[in-house]
């Protein structure tokens, strides 16, 4: 069974690839400047994928393609999360790109290609597929960032993203080659077996460190975070919303496969590394975010801090803590989408309003959106009953259960710093008195989508089990 080439394991991927080709052809013959058909087909593809995903959800674990491919509940759950988030991101993107000479077929195609890359990542059972998926994702993202050719900022951030991303991929590849040298295999489960027989092998440990660094690069964790604020700042806002949220879920997928499965026998080797990176991210991210006046940069640094909290969930390296981390990363993606949704919301015809101070007076003139954005900010700060609180609670609970009380105290103390800059946004929206209303988007679909996203943050906050159960099922904690 493991050796077989079983196409039923990859029919979602086949479907997506076919759909991409069709959409590409359709787009070629389209004269509509608004690309309505391309957009509709793309979203339909994603909806179909969501349905396919839910169909696959309860299938038993299956490995195929000479052990390179794995399809388990974890992979399927992560894929569904990826589809849904991409769907939301594209909804947000539409009004934004139509004003900015970005409304091209490539936008949708590249997004779909990156989705394909992520699907490969989360389903890979070998280092080779991890790398292939990662590159497919990264190359699509580089191109997406560079799509706005006439913008200096966007080109600069595309180059930065490309160079840093390439470096990270190089790290991972080098690590993989060292591990292959030591173990003679690139299949993750075989590497794991090797570890159980040779617990301390210097070469493969060396390789593992490189892989951890590469992953930290991709997550944007301190001290490998330098690219992140610049890229988030420079990219067109709709693309920032996408690259800051969805790919993290996929990177989490490969982090699980590599750290928990491949290096599952030598947890002590990597959990210390992750712990340091996580705490540094929390501290640096939160502190530096305080002084940012640009909303996108602020959200960028806050993303670094969030990644820190998420990484803390990996540190105890139990199934429960991994599912807590999964819960965190999915909720993080949902909140980040809403956060950058605000930036898109503030972008009207060709003008970008990106500073925190541009939100001044929003709450006074548009109380509904003011309230919604307050929900986003408070949720990011981790105040109950909004959704941001629950994964934090779960991460801290896992830390305390596994004896990391002191680390939990540091992390939670810095969330107070985090609260400050989130509240600064609320302050601008509600507390400052201004003469005239800030400009907001005219797109009704964006307004509805964003309100829906924000209401979701409240509703899931009241019933966090609705997401968390999936995460627990993915790690076989509950069935």
């Amino acid at each position: 069974m493991n050796e077989s080439i079983n196409f039923s394991l990859i029919y979602s991927e086949i479907f997506l690839l076919t759909a991409i080709c069709c959409i590409m052809l359709v787009d070629l013959f389209q004269r509509d400047r608004e690309r309505k058909l391309t957009f509709t087909l793309t979203q339909l593809t994603l909806v179909t994928l969501i349905i396919l995903g839910f169909n696959q959800l309860n299938m038993p674990l299956a490995i195929g393609f000479y052990q390179h491919w794995i399809l388990d509940t974890l992979a399927t759950t992560l894929k569904i999360a990826i589809y849904i988030m991409t769907f939301i991101a594209l909804l947000y993107a539409r009004p934004f790109i139509s004003h900015r000479n970005l409304m091209r077929g490539e936008y949708y195609l590249l997004t779909l290609f990156s989705v394909l890359g992520m699907m490969i990542m989360v389903s890979s059972n070998s280092f080779l597929l991890v790398y292939l998926g990662l590159e497919l994702l990264s190359l699509s993202l580089y191109a997406l960032v560079a799509l706005q050719r006439d913008s200096k900022l966007a080109s600069e951030s595309a180059v930065k993203y490309f160079v840093m991303g390439g470096l990270a991929s190089g790290f991972i590849l080098y690590g993989v080659s060292l591990i292959y040298g030591a173990t003679g295999s690139i299949i993750i489960s075989e590497v794991s077996q090797f570890y159980s027989q040779n617990p301390s092998n210097l070469i493969s440990q060396f390789g593992m460190v490189f892989i951890v660094i590469g992953l930290a690069f991709k997550f944007g964790a301190v001290p490998f975070h330098m690219w992140l604020p610049d890229v988030y700042h420079g990219s067109p806002s709709s693309i920032t919303a996408y690259i800051s949220s969805v790919p993290k879920i996929a990177v989490f997928g490969i982090a699980v496969r590599i750290l928990m499965v491949a290096f599952g026998q030598s947890i002590g080797d990597w959990s210390g590394l992750i712990l340091i990176v996580a705490l540094l991210s929390i501290i640096v991210g939160n502190v530096v975010a305080v002084v940012q006046s640009n909303l996108k940069r602020m959200l960028g640094y806050s993303a670094i801090a969030h990644i820190g909290y998420f990484l803390l969930g990996l540190v105890p390296a139990t199934d429960a803590s991994f599912s807590a981390a999964m819960f965190y990363i999915i909720v993080y993606a949902l909140m980040t989408l809403a956060g950058f949704g605000i930036v898109i919301f503030m972008s009207v015809a060709e003008k970008d309003y990106q500073n925190v101070s541009d939100l001044r007076g929003l709450g006074r003139y548009h109380p509904w959106y003011g309230l919604m954005f307050t929900v986003v900010m408070i949720s990011m700060a981790g105040i109950p009953p909004f959704i941001g609180f629950w994964p934090k609670l779960e991460i801290f609970r896992q830390l305390v259960l596994n004896g990391y009380v002191f680390e939990a105290v540091i992390a939670i103390a810095f969330s107070v710093v985090g609260l400050f800059y989130y509240l600064k946004v609320v302050k601008e929206m509600f507390f400052s008195e201004v003469e005239e209303s800030p400009e907001i988007t005219e797109s009704r679909s964006l307004k509805v989508a964003l309100s829906f996203n924000c209401i979701l943050l409240v509703l899931i906050g009241l019933m966090p089990d609705s997401i968390y159960d999936y995460c627990l099922t993915a790690f076989n904690i509950i069935s």
Binding site: G363, P367, L371, T374, I378, I383, P384, P385, F389, W390, L393, E394, F396, R397, V400, L401, V405, A408, V409, I412, A413, S415, V416, L419, F420, L423, V426, K427, F430, F431, S432, P464, D465, Y468, D469, L472, I478
Partner: protein
């Protein structure tokens, strides 16, 4: 019929839902309607709390009106509610104060009055939740969620320096509560449940108790607030709109006390015993030093804010003096200390709320809180002067008012421990009289200070009705405190017998 209704849930969610409903009402057209909706919502909540009061069996210490549903299965968090003699008076107080705030801000909020009232209703419901929750995470959720409406109320409707005050308020209290969260998680790990009463019946060694003690202390001391973490309170009070100040003083500070009684003392009694001396000293500093600080204030709201800190010092003194008394086996005196603290908690709710309302009455007319801008108000507002006099006297602890009962109990209890503690505590009764009455003299008596004062109108019917209610309560509990004491009595005795026993060994714990 009534027994079947989930009264506690109603007391939480009725105001919250009314408030959320009102958020959707915008525009000036529906202003009157929304005011009436708010009034009906608040009145219904108060009626529910009265129902609770009448149905409550005050002869037992058992948790009553229990509701328990699994909320989050994966985390074993329950939606568990229940009240005993400690929480019932606080819920009634909360509902009453919310109603009073709704009535008193009927006309004097110009900017988005609907949302202002909605904020108070939501907050009122959430505060009821804090007092009713018996699951620690549910408690924490209410405890934190309640900060958000208060933050917005201070920030949107507050005075000139509101941004600073609101941020300080939020961050200060959040800083306290994050440690609470870690402590709760740790305790839940030990107890294998988030249920507060399971946590109370658990063996914890002294080292762990001490750490948990400090986590609780940071959380609750900020809220009370105790010296030296009190500095957010004067800022928040001065900048908050009248209603915000009333709720802040009357209810929010009480959550600190409630936290002490519900969490800190019963869960870590040995650490509390070990640090009782420190806590008594901190309380005395709050009582004496803050009293002097209050004396020097130029701003009426600030003065009442500092006097709140000083009066809350009596509450913490009463709670921790009982440990010293238990050490000496003086159980009766310990009961008295705790009862004194609780009575003081409730009575301070009435008095400080009433004082802030009085200042609000003046502020609505003069737009100034400076004592120096006033003088001779009695000539133009004689009715107001009478009520203000009563509340000022109550604040000074005059016998016959509710302010006297609690302080008297606490001082009597501390006299059993040390003459000097009683002296220092008693000294502040003089101080309280000094700063309150001096303020009263400067504002109310004397010749008419300026033209503005000369043109003041006396209380209108709405203001009068609110102040009459509070005045009656202050007098009633001053002359006849036993209904309040009777509700608390079984809980306090159970508290001393079962909860304050050593948690180092399983011996002596009540099951």
């Amino acid at each position: 019929m009534i027994e079947k209704l989930p009264l506690l849930s109603l007391s939480i969610w009725l105001p919250v839902l009314t408030g959320v409903l009102m958020l959707f009402v915008t525009g000036q057209k529906h202003k009157k309607t929304s005011h009436w909706i708010a009034l009906i919502g608040a009145a219904a909540t108060f009626a529910i709390s009265l129902l609770l009061l009448s149905e409550f069996d005050s002869s037992s210490y058992y948790i009553q009106f229990i509701e328990d549903k699994v909320w989050l299965k994966s985390l074993d968090i329950h939606y568990a509610l229940g009240i005993d003699g400690f929480s019932l008076p606080l819920i009634v107080l909360t509902s009453l104060m919310t109603l009073i705030v709704v009535i008193s801000s009927w006309n004097n909020i110009k900017f988005r009055a609907t949302h202002y009232l909605a904020g108070f209703l939501i907050m009122g419901g959430l505060m009821n939740g804090v007092f009713a929750a018996t699951d620690s995470i549910l408690f924490y959720v209410f405890w934190e969620a309640m900060l958000v409406p208060m933050f917005l109320i201070i920030g949107i409707w507050g005075g000139a320096n509101r941004v600073y005050a609101s941020l300080k308020f939020f961050i200060y209290t959040f800083f306290g509560s994050v440690f609470l969260l870690i402590a709760l998680i740790y305790l839940a790990k030990q107890a294998d449940s988030f249920d507060i009463f399971n946590m109370q019946q658990m063996v914890i060694d002294l080292e762990a108790q001490k750490l948990i003690f400090f986590a609780f202390l940071i959380a609750f001391a900020v809220k009370i607030p105790m010296w030296p973490v009190h500095t957010w309170l004067p800022d928040a009070h001065v900048q908050a709109p009248t209603g915000g100040s009333v709720i802040l003083a009357a209810i929010m500070l009480k959550m600190g006390t409630y936290g002490f009684i519900r969490f800190m003392l019963p869960i870590v009694p040995d650490a509390s015993m070990a640090y009782a001396g420190m806590m008594i000293v901190l309380s005395l500093i709050a009582i004496a030093y803050i009293g002097f600080v209050a004396l020097a204030q130029e701003d009426m709201k600030k003065l009442v804010a500092y006097s709140s800190i000083a009066h809350m010092g009596f509450v913490t003194l009463g709670l921790f003096i009982s440990f010293a008394l238990l050490k000496q086996q003086q159980v009766d005196a310990a009961v008295m200390g705790i009862q004194g603290a609780l009575v003081q908690t409730i009575s301070h709710g009435f008095i400080s709320g009433a004082l802030f309302l009085c200042i609000g009455v003046l502020y609505d007319r003069m737009h100034s809180r400076n004592i120096a801008d006033y003088g001779g108000v009695v000539n133009t507002m004689p009715k107001f002067a009478m009520f203000f006099m009563l509340f000022a006297m109550a604040n000074a602890g005059l016998p016959g008012t509710s302010g006297f009962v609690g302080e008297f109990f606490v001082i009597i209890a501390s006299l059993q421990v040390s003459f000097w503690i009683a002296i220092i505590a008693g000294l502040t009764l003089v101080l309280a009289a000094a700063y309150t009455l001096w303020m009263y003299k400067r504002v109310i008596f004397g010749d008419i200070a300026n033209d503005k004062v000369a043109s003041l109108n006396d209380l209108n019917g709405r203001e009068l009705s609110v102040l009459i209610i509070l005045a009656l309560l202050v007098l009633f509990f001053g002359l006849y405190p036993s209904p309040l004491l009777e509700i608390m009595q079984p809980s306090v005795e159970h508290f001393i017998d079962c909860n304050l026993v050593s948690k180092l060994t399983p011996e002596g714990m009540c099951s």
